[in-house]
């Protein structure tokens, strides 16, 4: 008579790493950990007062939109990736991602409670439940999270992390470039940094599974990724126009969307879709995002603020022990 062993519970062993990327990403995520309470948001109160009423409404709507995406990613999106984890360490990383998304979602509430009145906050949340484009965006993503195909779930998750947030992230970067709400922008930059690692990691796990599939299935998934991106993009354009037409920034935001859509595809290991001319993001936005981003200047020209004349110093072998 044999003992029935249908299920063995396995404790996760961090001293036996199957995929070094799991440990690397875990270390990065945990060392990047932050809470909204660490950001001095109250320093933005005066700046908030300088925004026009419609600019304040726009900002609050953008932030409830971002809150909705973080809520979905924290409670449904990341969790939907758990059953497909390839290692137990990956499961641990995913739970970190899920928790951090909840921190992000809560951080917008910190911005609201610092800057806004209760009735304004409630109005903005009501807007988020009634805006057709925001609801459509959530509906599309949720339908894939609840779907059967693990690869498609990862595609949807990566597109959310690396593309869908950016119509919202644009605005605090725009305010920051005009020296407004700069502490709020610091908080958003922390979120943006986290999303880059989430997008990279989920995209990496996608590529591992993708590479094991048959050629036919790979073509199917690749086609699906571009189709889903375009479906989301079409809705995102409407969402963007709905929000930004009033302050005349829609075209500028669209370039930021194209730029980030390309990065989302690259996180999945696929080629960029939008050509260079559609992605020439306003340099002020890029500078707000990453101060050295637009300094990909020709080093032969000697121009650009990052150009430094080389300092001469003899090197020793000790220099290389860094």
């Amino acid at each position: 008579m044999s003992i029935k062993q249908s299920f063995i519970a396995r404790p996760v062993n961090w001293n036996k790493i199957e995929d070094p990327i799991d440990l690397d990403v875990w270390n990065r995520l945990t060392s990047n950990f932050w809470l909204p309470e660490k950001v001095p948001l109250s320093n933005d109160v005066q700046s908030w007062g300088t925004l026009k009423p419609h600019e304040r409404v726009l900002t609050m709507r953008v932030f409830t939109g971002l809150t909705l995406l973080d809520t979905i990613q924290g409670t449904v999106g990341a969790a939907s990736l758990l059953p497909d984890a390839r290692t137990q360490h990956e499961e641990a990383v995913i739970t970190n991602i899920a928790f951090m998304e909840s921190v992000h979602a809560k951080s917008y509430s910190s911005v609201f409670s610092t800057l806004c009145l209760t009735n304004e906050i409630e109005e903005a949340f009501r807007w988020s439940e009634e805006n057709p484009y925001l609801q459509k965006k959530a509906e599309i993503v949720l339908s894939y999270y609840n779907g059967e195909d693990p690869l498609k779930r990862k595609v949807a998750s990566t597109l959310l992390e690396s593309f869908l947030f950016y119509s919202g992230f644009y605005l605090p970067m725009y305010w920051s470039s005009r020296a407004k709400l700069t502490n709020t922008a610091d908080l958003i930059r922390l979120i943006i940094r986290d999303e880059a690692i989430h997008g990279y990691y989920i995209g990496y796990k996608f590529q591992q599974a993708f590479n094991e599939e048959s050629k036919d299935r790979q073509e199917d998934i690749r086609g699906y990724a571009y189709d889903l991106l375009l479906e989301l993009y079409e809705n995102e354009i409407k969402y963007t126009a709905d929000l930004y037409d009033e302050i005349g920034l829609t075209e500028d935001v669209k370039k930021f969307l194209h730029y980030n859509a390309n990065k989302a595809l690259m996180n999945l290991g696929f080629d960029a879709l939008f050509p260079k001319d559609d992605c020439d993001v306003n340099p002020a936005i890029l500078a707000a995002l990453s101060p050295n981003a637009d300094e990909n200047h020709d080093f032969f020209s000697g121009s650009g603020s990052s150009y430094v004349i080389g300092k001469h110093e003899a090197t020793t072998d000790d220099d290389w022990d860094f």
């Binding site: 070094p20 960029a272 990453s290 050295n292 990909n296 290389w320």
Partner: protein
């Protein structure tokens, strides 16, 4: 043309970029213990990813540090290209700045993730410029080994 020597983790993002350049390339081993026996013998451009998104210390992959610890290897590096993500703000592609400063060779370009077709075009053009520059002037201290 220069050869490419690069590091790419198992995510292979940097490898995908290098493959698109279509140049002779060699990959620095993934396992740190294998790097010691890895040597280059031709003038090469180093392509490396940036790790972290936090402190500079950990931005350069350990395998690249080990590779550059070899005086012959580092003397053959004529330029650096770094990959990264602007989401990391001030530390975007910072591994390129660190190695460029250490080696006193130009940081030729920063690439996001695996690079767009335009990035490939720009990088090829710059490599050609650097190549021409070196062919015309062997006196340049930055490029002599």
């Amino acid at each position: 043309m220069f050869d490419i020597v690069y590091f790419s983790s198992t995510s292979e993002n940097t490898k995908r970029f290098v493959d698109k350049l279509g140049l002779v390339s060699r990959r620095i081993p993934l396992l740190t213990k294998d790097v010691e026996g890895f040597h280059i013998s031709t003038p090469s451009v180093l392509v490396l990813p940036t790790y972290g998104g936090g402190e500079d210390k950990r931005a350069v992959p350990i395998q690249v540090i080990k590779f550059l610890n070899d005086p012959v290897n580092r003397s053959l590096i004529v330029g650096v290209i770094a990959t990264g993500n602007t989401n990391f703000g001030t530390t975007y592609a910072v591994a390129g700045d660190i190695v460029s400063a250490k080696l006193q060779v130009p940081l030729l370009y920063r690439v996001e993730i695996l690079g767009t077709p335009n990035d490939i075009f720009e990088v090829k053009e710059r490599l050609q410029k650097l190549w021409d520059l070196q062919q015309n002037s062997h006196q340049s201290p930055a490029f002599s080994s």
